[in-house]
């Protein structure tokens, strides 16, 4: 994907977001005018913002499509994109597991171990797993002591 495509997709998402926001706003605040004799109800200011967002996003989209500079048609490169995707996937799994199963500290321990093992995989699986296990035990213990015992927070 080129920078131009990514920029265009983001502009379109912003335009759709602006329209979606305005539609939802005007549905939920349909009684807005009841609260205002001058027409300046709760939807007045947000509608201006939604309009401005759509206009500005269209401007960016047009500007971007007209930009034929070499940099704009360059391919988007993201170093370690696989790691970013794995991190997002692990966060989703962690949040789902914590929300539906509980066991916060166990989940933290597993998340830390898996993340650190993956991030350090270039040092070999055995080495990275051992280092990750040791660091995760220490970190989870520290978090439990600080948040669970001293601050008495329940997760």
């Amino acid at each position: 994907m080129t920078w131009r495509s990514l920029n265009s997709i983001m502009s379109i998402i912003l335009i759709m977001g602006g329209i979606g926001y305005a539609v939802n706003l005007n549905q939920s605040a349909s009684q807005a005018l009841l609260f205002s004799s001058s027409g300046i109800g709760p939807a007045y200011f947000p509608n201006i913002l939604a309009g401005l967002l759509v206009i500005l996003s269209v401007m960016t989209l047009v500007k971007n499509l007209r930009d034929k500079s070499p940099k704009n048609i360059e391919k988007v490169t993201t170093h370690n994109s696989g790691y970013i995707l794995v991190t997002v996937a692990l966060m989703v799994a962690f949040l789902a597991s914590w929300q539906f199963l509980g066991f916060f500290y166990l989940n933290v321990f597993v998340l830390l171990t898996v993340l650190m093992t993956l991030y350090r995989i270039e040092f070999g699986l055995k080495n990275s797993l051992l280092v990750a296990l040791a660091t995760s035990v220490f970190t989870t213990g520290f978090l439990y002591g600080l948040f669970g015992q001293i601050l008495a927070l329940t997760f």
Partner: protein
């Protein structure tokens, strides 16, 4: 003079002092770590302030802010990689001095000038904010709305090269600030049938997603196991009287520039350190030494970025306008405690305001003392690879978000915000504008609607007083200057 003589017994409590200590240590560590920085440190500590008295919580965040400014120079000097954008100018002379002379000496110049700059910024805060707040009492709703617009424009126009993207960032922040129950009518707005959004977008989830989670993705893409090598052999900090005398002029200039630019919303420490560096290098008796390890080249930017922290608190406390992302987060702590910064806070929360005045000076002293003792230890943190930092900070982010409200919805929201803002950052949308607009949104909207309701929808209300007209003229002048600068830049660009 009444500012000088105020009861300080509220300030010197064990809780406040411990909070300053904790904030200083966290700020210095996060400031020193390239990629993390002050804003993330302040955002991560924000949920902790829930459980603290307002003054203790705010002082902790201010201590983090102050210490982060110095912390950024540790990696700038030892690694040649600025820990924060505000320490970028320090690399030019700090790193060569560390290489050629002594890292400890370079750090000493940074610490001493940062501390002098911080004290100067604190004095500016004490002496300028009270008169400014008294003056601001003349303002009504139209003036407050216009003031908010000026704050947004300053941030929007100065924070990015692409004005349209900067404006979109500002609008996104304002939109996020309008979600939830309308405070004037009680009507639900854009909550998408999510009860968790009725109180608005959770500030902590918004901040942590926008700054911390997106930044962690950035750190992953920059490399997970990059090993920094820092010379830690001579890290003892300390300056002789003669060495100190040699940087008095540059520290004074840096402090003046820092405090002055800090007061102007949107400029902040990042620009002020370069400005101070440029002025001092031009007025120095030894301009050839700049870029090769000149002590003045370290003292000017470092005093400037710490002085700008105090300066930035002036419009924030006196007018309720945050000038930078870190100050916007600190404003979040005020809001979470039900306190609205602005001229009325000087009478409504007198003890808190004076506690902040003198507490700010105290945070600078703490930064100096802890910096002297613990700088060698903080420099060890620099060699921790991103593979450990990213994992641990990620978990801390999630704990912070959950601790703020105990809602899983906020965790999912923060993850979504983190992903979106990672892409927006890659596309050069200035993220700091979003948070400033977010915290200013209620002020701007309420005063906008109140003005128009009082005038029955007539926009003439924004020209109804001398102050309002002056503010409108300032907006027009800023817009004209920005358009002119763009026009000039385009003319000089090769076609």
């Amino acid at each position: 003079m009444e500012t000088l003589f105020n009861d300080l017994t509220n300030l010197f409590t064990i809780t406040n002092l411990l909070c300053i200590l904790l904030g200083t240590v966290v700020g210095m560590v996060f400031g020193a770590l390239p990629g993390l920085g002050t804003v993330i440190a302040v955002a991560l500590l924000l949920p902790v302030t829930f459980t603290l008295p307002p003054l203790a919580g705010i002082l902790m965040l201010l201590a983090t802010y102050q210490a982060g400014e110095y912390g950024g120079s540790i990696s700038a000097i030892l690694l040649g990689v600025p820990g924060t954008p505000q320490a970028a100018a320090t690399v030019l002379d700090g790193y060569p001095m560390a290489q050629n002379e002594s890292p400890g000496k370079a750090l000493s110049y940074s610490l001493v000038s940062s501390s002098i700059g911080g004290i100067f910024g604190g004095l500016v805060l004490i002496f300028v904010s009270v008169p400014l707040a008294k003056f601001a009492l003349n303002f009504g709703s139209p003036e407050y709305f216009l003031l908010g617009v000026i704050g947004l424009m300053a941030v929007g126009l100065l924070s990015g090269t692409d004005k349209i993207k900067s404006s979109i960032a500002v609008i996104l922040g304002l939109i996020a600030g309008t979600v939830g129950i309308d405070s004037l009518t009680g009507v639900n707005r854009a909550t998408f049938n999510q009860p968790e959004l009725m109180d608005g977008v959770n500030l902590v989830a918004f901040l942590v997603g926008m700054f911390a989670i997106s930044e962690l993705f950035m750190m992953i893409s920059k490399g997970l196991n990059n090993k920094y090598v820092a010379d830690r052999s001579t890290l003892k900090t300390g300056l002789t009287w003669k060495e100190l005398k040699g940087v008095v002029k540059s520290t004074t200039i840096g402090s003046l520039i820092g405090a002055g630019t800090g007061i102007l919303p949107g400029i902040g420490g990042g620009a002020s350190c370069w400005f101070a560096y440029a002025v001092v290098s031009k007025t120095s008796k030894d301009p050839e030494a700049f870029g090769k390890g000149s002590p003045e080249g370290i003292a000017a930017p470092e005093s400037s970025n710490n002085a700008s922290a105090g300066g930035a608190l002036v419009p924030f406390l006196a007018l309720g306008i945050p000038g930078s992302a870190a100050i916007a987060i600190i404003m979040g702590a005020f809001i979470m405690h039900g306190i609205q910064p602005g001229p009325n806070v000087f009478t409504a929360e007198r003890d808190l305001v004076y506690g902040i005045f003198y507490g700010f000076i105290l945070t600078t002293i703490a930064m100096y003392l802890i910096g002297r003792v613990l700088t060698p230890m903080f420099s060890r943190v620099l060699v921790v690879p991103n593979s450990f930092l990213v994992s641990i900070v990620l978990v801390l982010c999630l704990i912070g978000i959950y601790a703020s409200k105990g809602a899983f919805f906020d965790l999912w929201l923060a993850l979504g915000i983190g992903i979106v803002f990672y892409i927006l950052k890659r596309l050069n949308y200035p993220v700091s504008s979003v948070i400033i607009a977010y915290v200013l949104a209620p002020i701007i909207e309420e005063n906008f609607r109140r003005s128009l309701t009082l005038s029955n929808g007539n926009y003439d209300v924004f020209f109804s007083s001398v102050y309002a007209i002056a503010l409108v003229l300032m907006i027009v002048a800023a817009l004209a200057a920005s358009v002119y600068a763009d026009f000039k830049k385009r003319r000089h660009q090769p076609s």
